[in-house]
Every structure is written in structure tokens, then in C-alpha cells.
């Protein structure tokens, strides 16, 4: 019986790989967009404007305080009431990008704050403009603090992308969910799903650990 199910599972492997491609697409697009948006918000948060600081802070709190599933449902079911009709794929991208941006924004802001104040003063004294300060003085140093948790955040986002299967995006989790209706071997089917995620996430986790060690050494010698 097990071998029979196993061959059935092997036959549906192309289906899983299609799902894997969808997972990579959804999380890849959201990672890039979320990183850009997150860096932007993070930099704005460390500027002088109190209003923008609190505005972004409140938004981040709202997003961090509610489950991602609820956020997806809000984007997917409530926006149509406001006249914005979205397919499952763009709805998934929007909510995942926003989630990523909120977490990355906090990481970036913390990284920028970790740069000693004297560095900024020295840059100002050297006559660098605000943009030059950011580009040549603050960010290169802040990246040491930002990079390890950033990669860790990517892992979380890739894992969170599994939740978009709830609104019908055909990702790996959805592929597993559909397959288990035909192949009633939940352990086998979702072990396969797990392995596929593991292949993507585990190297990133190792990379994050490695960066933490490397950057840690870097900052102590600094």
C-alpha cells in the first residue's frame, strides 16, 4: 500500500514543482519589493520628522499586531468592497510585501541607530550632504547590524508565504493540500512539502548564522 501511494506521489511531483515555482515567485517578488520599501521606511523613521516617525510606527504596530492570515483576508475580501478587485496572486504579493516592509523597516531603523552619533557629526563637519552621509558613512556601517537579521527575516517571509495558499494561490502548501485529497497519506504528502521548504530555507538560515558570526567579529574589531 505504501509503495502504491509513493508512486502516486512521485507522479504528482511535477505538480509540486509547479507549486514550488509559485512559492519562489510570490516570496521572491515580495522580498525584493519589501526590502526596497522597508529600507525606505526605515530611513524615514530615523529622520527628524516626528509625524512620519509616528505614522510609520503606528502602521508597523498594526501589521505586527495582527495575524498575516487576517491581513490577507482583509486585502482579498475587503478591498473589492472599496471597488478594488484583485486576483489571488496580486493580493498575496501586496500583503506579503507590506508584511516584509514592516519588519525590515524596524531592522533598518535599529541598524541606523547603532551607528555612533559622532560618525554623523564627522560626516557633517566634512561637508557631506545628507544623501552622501547616508550613502558613504551611515549605511556601510549600519549594514553590519542589518544584514544578519535581514536574512533571518527573509526565511520568515518565505515561510509566511505558505499562508497565501488560503486564498487559493497555487503554491507548495496548496499543492500538498490538493494532493492529500487524492493520496490519503498526510504524513508522506506534507513531509514532501516540508522537504521542499527546507531546501529553500535551511541554506538561508545557515547564511544568517554565518553572517551573524562574521559581522559580530567585524564590529568588535571596529
Amino acid at each position: 500500500m505504501w509503495t502504491y501511494y509513493l508512486t502516486q506521489l512521485v507522479h504528482s511531483l511535477p505538480f509540486f514543482l509547479k507549486g514550488l515555482w509559485m512559492t519562489v515567485a510570490v516570496s521572491g517578488i515580495s522580498l525584493v519589493a519589501g526590502t526596497i520599501l522597508g529600507f525606505l521606511w526605515g530611513i524615514i523613521r530615523t529622520r527628524r520628522s516626528k509625524f512620519l516617525y509616528h505614522l510609520i510606527g503606528a502602521w508597523v504596530d498594526l501589521i505586527r499586531g495582527t495575524p498575516f492570515l487576517v491581513q490577507i483576508f482583509i486585502v482579498f475580501f475587503i478591498l473589492p468592497e472599496a471597488g478594488i478587485h484583485l486576483d489571488a496572486f496580486p493580493a498575496a504579493i501586496i500583503s506579503l510585501t507590506n508584511l516584509g516592509a514592516c519588519f525590515i523597516c524596524e531592522i533598518v531603523a535599529a541598524g541606523i541607530r547603532s551607528v555612533p552619533w559622532g560618525q554623523k557629526e564627522a560626516a557633517t563637519a566634512s561637508g557631506l550632504t545628507q544623501l552622501q552621509q547616508l550613502r558613504y558613512v551611515v549605511m556601510p556601517q549600519a549594514m553590519k547590524t542589518i544584514l544578519p537579521p535581514l536574512v533571518g527575516q527573509y526565511v520568515l517571509l518565505i515561510k509566511d508565504s505558505s499562508v497565501v495558499s488560503a486564498i487559493g494561490v497555487m503554491d507548495v502548501t496548496r499543492a500538498g493540500w490538493l494532493t492529500v485529497q487524492r493520496v490519503p497519506q498526510g504524513l508522506m504528502v506534507f513531509a514532501l512539502v516540508g522537504i521542499l521548504y527546507f531546501i529553500i530555507c535551511y541554506p538561508l538560515i545557515r547564511l544568517s548564522n554565518l553572517l551573524e558570526k562574521k559581522m559580530g567579529r567585524g564590529t568588535t574589531s571596529f
Binding site: 492570515l69 505558505s162 490519503p184 512539502v193 516540508g194
Partner: protein
């Protein structure tokens, strides 16, 4: 959209929401207690000298951390019956939350224990304290303080993660929003009310975490 926002219906559904609020609290509470037990065990195994125990705990922690919770929930939901183990959905949910959160708890505890300088343990050995005395009077008092803020952070994650249990038809907060959406076709009212309830839990836990962090710094500076 908002001009048609119907507070009367929300009020009508309030008993359901309150019931589901309690369900979310007990599901994540049970998950938290379970994960403390599992996490302590896994941490003890991970830092033990035995290669076998440490390796087993490592496999458990890494495989949980590199796969999404939703896949783990489905793994148990569809997998346990195929092993002939019949438990209720709630039980399945608590098991999945416990095992998932346990891996993260183990890492938090490990970071706490390893934050105690080795000299402290050497000093304790030199003072001829035995293993339990060393743990009770030297290691744990220092380690626990460090672990409490990240543990509260994990509790916040756990509450949000419990939203995924709605996908295996457990009646909790997110499910209440879904029920309201399908019965009255009011996704805005349903899911925004759900979000507000989660935010209440989030802000309570967040302020407790902030308070504990402040207490911790006070302790260290003393």
C-alpha cells in the same frame, strides 16, 4: 465602504467573537505552556554532552525552523489519522503549536544559558557547588532574566500563529470573522473586528514585554 459599516451587526455577533476570543486565548495559552516544556527539554538535550541527544534536538529544531507552521499543521491534521491516531481538531492544533513554538523556545533558552559567562560556572565549581546548586543559584537566575523578553515576543507570535488553526476548522477569532463573512457577507465588519481583538492581545503583551525589559536593564545596572 466605510459609510456602510454596520456596527449593529458587529454587536449582534459580539457573543460569538467573545467566545472565539477566549478560544484563541486558551489555544495559544496551552501552546505556550506546552512549548515551555518541550523547549526546556529540547534545550537541555541540545546543550548536553551526548552527541546523540544533541543531534536529535538539532534535527528537531532545524526542521521546525525551516518549514512553515501551516505545513506543520496540515502534516498533523492529515497525517495523524493516517497513523490511526484520532484526536480532535483542537488537540491537533495545540500539538502543532506546541511543537512549532517549542523549537523557538529551545533556541531562546539556549541563548539565555549561553549568555551566562563561563567564568561564573567555573567560580561556582570552585566554590564546590554541585550541578543542581550551580543551576539553581548561579546559571538560572542570570539566564532567565535574559530569556523573558524574547519569550514574551514568542508569545505574541504564538497568538498570531493560532490564527492559522482556523484553516483546519477550529473555531477561534479568525474563524469568527469567516463565519460572519459567510453568514452576512460582511467581510469588512468581520475581519476588522477580528483584527481589533488581536491588537488588544498584542498591545497587552507588548507592554508587558517592554516593562520586563526595563526591569531587566534595572537589574543589570544594579
Amino acid at each position: 465602504m466605510l459609510e456602510a459599516f454596520n456596527f449593529r451587526v458587529i454587536l449582534e455577533y459580539m457573543p460569538l467573537f467573545l467566545k472565539c476570543f477566549m478560544a484563541t486565548l486558551w489555544l495559544s495559552g496551552a501552546g505556550l505552556l506546552g512549548s515551555l516544556v518541550v523547549g526546556t527539554l529540547a534545550c537541555a538535550m541540545r546543550i548536553s554532552r551526548s552527541k546523540l541527544l544533541s543531534g536529535a534536538a538539532g534535527v528537531y529544531i532545524e526542521s521546525i525552523r525551516s518549514t512553515p507552521l501551516l505545513a506543520q499543521i496540515y502534516f498533523f491534521y492529515f497525517g495523524l489519522p493516517s497513523l490511526g491516531i484520532m484526536v480532535t481538531e483542537e488537540m491537533t492544533g495545540v500539538i502543532a503549536l506546541t511543537l512549532n513554538s517549542g523549537a523557538y523556545m529551545a533556541e531562546i533558552l539556549r541563548a539565555g544559558v549561553q549568555s551566562v559567562p563561563f567564568g561564573q560556572i567555573e567560580a561556582a565549581v570552585a566554590s564546590s557547588l554541585n550541578y543542581f546548586q550551580r543551576m539553581r543559584y548561579v546559571v538560572l537566575p542570570q539566564a532567565l532574566g535574559v530569556t523573558i523578553p524574547p519569550m514574551l515576543g514568542q508569545a505574541i507570535v504564538l497568538v498570531k500563529d493560532s490564527a492559522l488553526l482556523s484553516l483546519i476548522s477550529i473555531t477561534e477569532l479568525t474563524r469568527a470573522g469567516q463565519i460572519m463573512t459567510s453568514e452576512r457577507f460582511m467581510p469588512a465588519e468581520g475581519f476588522l473586528t477580528t483584527a481589533v481583538f488581536y491588537l488588544v492581545i498584542y498591545f497587552v503583551l507588548k507592554s508587558v514585554a517592554a516593562w520586563s525589559e526595563k526591569r531587566l536593564i534595572f537589574h543589570e545596572s544594579r
